[in-house]
């Protein structure tokens, strides 16, 4: 983190460039529902509630302050959205009704588009999952596990073998993917959907 910051300062992103005041609005409008992001009062309820805050480089609250300050690169580099477990504790507790979890989704997709995430583990997991859905219409746990672990966590595989075998032998994991019947219809929908963006 410290490095990132220094780097951006020397590049002049922090001080010399004009502040990116459109960032907050961009994130807000790309979020599903009405995000209320601009209503944040920086109380820290989200940061206090977050079960994975310890592993985040910024608390969600701090991230929102950075959005306001237009710190685009820093925000998109942050691991915070990727550490979100979607537990919605912050969402129901937020006194300003900010759709925090959905803002995190937005930030993740923005980071993917901008190729700015720090660690590609999570984006790849999501992408692998989505690839399976797009191919079969259903999730494919074995395929997901195989492809994902081999690529990202090969060292974890031996330790997990017992568990994996347990899952397979109890038929809790299927060897072959199941498919939906109208996969072409789903593909047509998703192809069209990919041409659309939520902006207004």
């Amino acid at each position: 983190m410290a490095q990132t910051k220094t780097a951006s300062l020397t590049k002049g992103a922090g001080f010399k460039k004009q502040e990116d005041l459109t960032l907050l609005n961009e994130v807000s409008s790309a979020t599903a529902g009405v995000s209320h992001l601009e209503m944040c009062i920086q109380c820290g309820t989200c940061g206090g509630s977050c079960p994975s805050a310890a592993d985040m480089d910024h608390t969600p609250r701090a991230l929102f302050a950075m959005l306001r300050a237009g710190m685009r690169d820093e925000v998109l580099h942050s691991n915070t959205p990727w550490m979100c477990v979607s537990c919605y504790h912050c969402v129901v507790r937020c006194p300003q009704e900010v759709h925090i979890a959905d803002v995190m989704y937005t930030l993740k997709s923005m980071a993917i588009k901008a190729h700015q995430y720090k660690d590609n583990t999570a984006p790849d997991f999501s992408q692998t999952f989505v690839d399976n859905i797009e191919a079969f219409g259903r999730s494919y746990e074995l395929g997901l596990a195989g492809r994902f672990y081999l690529q990202h966590q090969p060292l974890r595989l031996p330790g997990m073998a017992g568990m994996g075998w347990g899952m397979l032998s109890s038929r809790r994991m299927n060897i072959l993917p199941s498919r939906i019947e109208q996969i072409d219809q789903l593909k047509a929908i998703l192809t069209k959907a990919k041409t659309l963006e939520l902006t207004s």
Partner: protein
């Protein structure tokens, strides 16, 4: 009616400095009115920097006299602001005030629109509407009604007591109605008051006694207003006097009945559920009046028909189990509502565990805990009643500034929390954490108190607490309450183990505020607080003439502000009483009897019972003294046989035509 003669109309367009002229092309509106509305009777149109200034008013007066204007249209601000100003000015020049109308081109045009061309067009159409309408205005005379000099004050908290004393001291009679057995309100429950740390009871009880003994005050405790009818000057009020089962005429307040009563119940009211009281009780030692009350649902005699210990031991035979609720009717000229607030139910914020985790306390519980007359005699202990806390966390904004609960700031909680921190430090020496979003200490000597508490070593953490839990994650947390919070100034999540949590819960409108508002004919904001006539310039009046509000009934307030409002409301009432009579707007409905067929459809329209059916004549008739001028019957009459002054069909139809003239 005006086929042959269009009345001469003058149109005056106000710039309001740049308030209007900044967004509306005032000159264009004036020219347009002069030219296009000429055929409608406009003989002169002028514009002026500030129409409401004396020079502006003189302009109108001069035109009325010199040009013989018969109607005046002023396009300026809202009629609720300056209608009276211009009507008075016109009246000075000899024109009946009801022949002058205001067009709101500030609140409804320049302040809410940005495009100058569009705003100007809208202003024109609004002016056109009123010009068309005013031709049908008729001269009206105000009615005068004498004012009854008695006043009703509802609510015996500090605001109500103050209001009652001010009026009583001025020599007029006051009925002070309180639904609890004693006056005193919330203030009677507090230990200390911030920032001076005065003993609450010490400063309150002399006032209570004064109110209880004042010759001009009729104190009615254990009573509630059930119905109000009539209007300013003459309200008929019905009061339910609940049975005390104690004869107030002979009771001396000796307290023997309470002493002898064998049954104890948890006192959810005065002791906030933290202590016990007897079933025949006075809420607290200094209660005014001193007469006890029997808590009927809990009384063994009422439950089982036996016991009567109180009756046996009463030296004056004051216990009267046969007493019944009674209704008392009074007539008053003015009413002050000082009905106060409810404390936010901290149990609603489930993540703070109140009601589930024993050592989480509400603010009022802590007040009782720290009060020397309270259940622990002022010892600050955990729920076990013994252990002194070593670490205490005080959480601000519980239920306040939170869209899940109440969106407003309860304004007193910061100071209340600081007071708690001080008391905890002083009495127990415990470490105290304050968890706040923003510190709000704006009044006299408040911020100095904040600094004093800082100086005492209280640990401030800026962050709204996310959760209070008993689920220990690490050994040192075992048996503690753990406060989950982001320390926003550090930018890190913290888990702070404490022994005791005090929730600084905020204020809420009375749970029955809306119902009470309906009884008195006043309305609540979306938050539930009563709405002032004007939030800044008329904060103790309501939209209903003769009904005033004071204290926390209008929103969260500290003690000084409540007292000031009580006095202010009293001043407004005294002003009314001293005028001896009140002028009523002459907006009234009347039935054209030859056209009335007596169908009686209008009869159910009037909530003021102003419409009577005259059986012999088979017509309905409006009593102008009772009519409040809403016009609902006018709109309801299927024969078009009811007319309403000020808002006649002709006037509204003409206004619609005028508004749409530019379409």
């Amino acid at each position: 009616m005006i086929e042959n003669h269009k009345p001469k109309i003058g149109v005056y367009v106000c710039h309001c400095g740049s308030n209007i002229a900044g967004t509306v092309n005032v000159d264009d509106v004036r020219k347009w009115a002069q030219e296009k509305l000429g055929p409608e009777g406009v003989v002169i149109a002028r514009d002026y920097k500030f129409m409401c200034s004396s020079l502006g008013q003189e302009l109108i007066e001069k035109d009325i006299k010199e040009l013989g204007l018969e109607r005046v249209v002023v396009a300026a601000c809202s009629p609720h602001l300056h209608e009276k100003t211009f009507r008075t000015a016109a009246e000075k020049a000899g024109l009946n005030p009801y022949l002058t109308e205001l067009v709101s081109i500030r609140e409804q045009v320049s302040w809410v629109h940005t495009d100058k061309a569009i705003a100007t067009e809208k202003a024109k159409s609004l002016v056109s509407g009123t010009v068309q309408r005013i031709a049908y205005n008729t001269p009206l005379e105000k009615q005068k009604v004498p004012i009854n000099a008695n006043t009703l004050v509802v609510g015996g908290g500090i605001a109500g007591i103050q209001a009652a004393l001010e009026i009583a001291n001025a020599g007029f009679h006051v009925y002070l109605v309180e639904r609890e057995p004693s006056i005193g309100g919330h203030m009677a429950q507090f230990d200390k008051t911030f920032p001076t740390l005065d003993c609450s009871a010490c400063i309150l009880t002399p006032r209570m006694v004064e109110a209880g003994t004042h010759p001009n005050i009729t104190l009615m405790t254990w009573s509630e207003v059930t119905n109000v009818s009539g209007f300013v000057g003459n309200f008929d009020v019905r009061i339910l006097k609940k049975a005390r089962y104690v004869n107030e005429d002979v009771c001396t307040g000796c307290g023997i009945c309470t002493e002898k009563c064998p049954k104890k119940v948890i006192d959810t009211h005065y002791e906030a559920g933290l202590g016990y009281r007897k079933v025949v009780y006075t809420p607290f030692a200094q209660a005014v009046p001193r007469f006890p009350v029997i808590d009927r649902p809990n009384c063994t005699f009422f439950q089982k028909g036996t016991c009567k210990a109180c009756e046996k031991f009463c030296p004056t035979n004051a216990i009267d189990f046969k007493q019944e609720d009674e209704f008392i009717n009074i007539t008053v000229g003015n009413i002050i509502l000082a009905t106060g607030y409810d404390l936010f139910d901290a149990g609603r914020v489930t993540n703070y565990g109140y009601g589930r985790l024993p050592n989480v306390f509400s603010s009022i519980e802590f007040e009782r805990l720290s009060n020397s007359a309270g259940p622990t005699g002022g010892e600050i202990t955990l729920r076990d009643g013994k252990t002194k806390p070593e670490t205490v966390g005080i959480i601000h904004c519980v239920g306040s500034r939170d869209k899940n609960f109440n969106n407003y700031c309860s304004s007193i909680c910061c100071m209340q929390s600081l007071k708690f921190a001080h008391i905890v430090r002083e009495r127990t020496g415990a470490d105290v954490y304050e968890f706040y979003i923003d510190m709000r200490t704006p009044m006299k000597a408040y911020d100095e108190f904040y600094q004093r508490v800082l100086d005492e070593g209280t640990l401030f953490v800026r962050g709204k607490v996310a959760e209070v839990t008993n689920a220990a994650r690490y050994p040192h947390e075992k048996g503690k309450l753990i406060i989950h919070v982001e320390d926003t100034l550090v930018g890190k999540q913290r888990r702070i183990p404490v022994d005791m949590v005090i929730l600084s819960n905020g204020m809420e409108p009375r749970h029955d505020a809306k119902q009470t508002g309906q009884t008195f004919g006043i309305s609540c904001s979306s938050d539930g607080w009563y709405i002032e006539r004007h939030p800044k310039l008329d904060p103790v009046s309501t939209m209903t003439e003769g009904i005033y509000i004071a204290g926390c009934a209008t929103g969260p307030k500290d003690i000084p502000a409540s007292v000031a409002q009580g006095a202010a409301a009293a001043a407004r009432v005294l002003d009314k009483i001293l005028q001896k009579e009140v002028e009523m707007e002459p907006i009234r409905a009347s039935v054209i009897e030859e056209n009335c067929s007596g169908c009686r459809i209008c009869n159910s329209m009037c909530p003021f019972n102003a419409i009577a059916f005259i059986g012999d004549l088979k017509v309905s008739r409006v009593n102008p003294a009772l009519c409040q001028g809403c016009g609902t019957c006018v709109a309801a009459c299927p024969a078009g046989a009811i007319t309403g002054t000020g808002f006649s069909n002709e006037q509204i139809f003409a206004q619609i035509d005028g508004l749409l003239m530019t379409v």
